[in-house]
């Protein structure tokens, strides 16, 4: 709902005509990733908090290996993010008359950026689940952890929009590397976060 509301608000207030054509690739990429990131944050942050609030976290701890729980939550978050992307990205392209010169690169960037965003958000959600000031902590942790993937994804989408020759798709590779690093780090650190 947050995603749809933001998307409609942006398309009504900015539309496709209020931005100079030369600035559109960058600004549209920024807007798209702001919508995707904040929509993801509002939903994915709840993945562990819900277990904590419902009182199911202890029985989960007693039943499953920490890594299995993390991977399960990650899979759920990525599925949710994928569904969100399937709604948001085509709607954004349609409503903003977003011209993309390299659709292949754009799709790869959205997918790899989404994977990174999902992995980053999942471990942050796990960390803040037990804290009392969850909202503030979530924002404080999200900023440094998610900034690299956001900048990369914005740059990659801008390149895809402009149509700059992009041998090897460097931003996509950086986003995939970020995803792999986040998963590896999370699998190592999650048992410590999971234990009280």
């Amino acid at each position: 709902m947050f995603a749809v509301t933001t998307l409609i608000a942006v398309s009504f207030s900015i539309g496709s005509f209020r931005i100079e054509e030369a600035e559109r690739p960058f600004l549209y990429s920024v807007l798209l990733w702001i919508i995707l990131t904040f929509s993801a944050l509002s939903g994915l942050a709840r993945s562990f908090v819900k277990e904590e609030e419902a009182g199911t976290i202890d029985v989960l701890k007693l039943s499953a290996r920490p890594q299995a729980v993390f991977l399960g939550k990650l899979l759920f978050n990525l599925t949710l993010l994928g569904a969100l992307g399937l709604v948001i990205v085509p709607s954004f392209i349609f409503l903003m008359a977003y011209q993309i010169n390299f659709p292949g690169l754009f799709i790869a960037m959205v997918i790899s950026g989404g994977l990174g965003l999902g992995a980053g958000t999942t471990i942050i959600a796990a960390m803040v689940a037990r804290a009392s000031a969850r909202g503030a902590l979530f924002s404080a942790l999200s900023f440094p952890l998610l900034l690299p993937i956001m900048i990369t994804a914005i740059k990659g989408c801008e390149r895809a929009t402009v149509g700059i020759s992009t041998a090897g798709w460097p931003e996509v590779r950086i986003a995939v590397a970020y995803f792999v690093i986040m998963i590896t780090m999370s699998l190592l650190l999650f048992p410590l976060v999971w234990e009280e």
């Binding site: 419902a54 009182g55 202890d58 701890k61 007693l62 039943s63 499953a64 009280e196």
Partner: protein, 205 residues
Amino acid sequence: MFTLNVSGIGKHYRETLLFKDVSFQLNRGDVLAIAGWNGSGKSTLLRVIAGLVRPSAGRVEMFAGGESIPKESRRRFIGMVAPAISLYDELTGLENMEFFCRVRGFACNRNDCRDIVDRIGLTEHAKKMCGDYSSGMKQRLKLAQALLHGPPLLLLDEPGCNLDSKGIKVVEEIISRQRELGVTVIASNEKREVDYADRIINLSE
């Protein structure tokens, strides 16, 4: 042969000491009751034994067949019921059992789950959403979840909580049957529940 060895366990939160130097050893067939005033740390001690909370001092060891069980493998040996533990309201009783079967990595089918649900007296309500259960029915389902994998260590925090007389009978049967399977630790102030035990540790003393 299962053995639980608790030695010199203590727990404090910041400046507040809950308990210290709690030691005991339990072998198969033993039932221990932990009593004490509200806030004396009964539930926390159970959580320490289950590995849900780190102790401030001391250690918990478990042995099966004479061999020490590593901490990361202990969850297979533990079944726990506590007021703070909840099951998934959005699943039916039977689906909860199937979910925990799968999460625990068992190849149990719907009939196995149905058997355990029957045993705790929830046959008629097995296909109802857990969110629609009464507090007593939820307590029964928690007992079923704890027994699902036949654990040698059963940790029961106020097991009779919200149960009617039939439910209390079920708890008695569970504790009686657990004497053949392994060890039971009960945290309660209810005289009836403390009376199930062979030994009592009073944390208020």
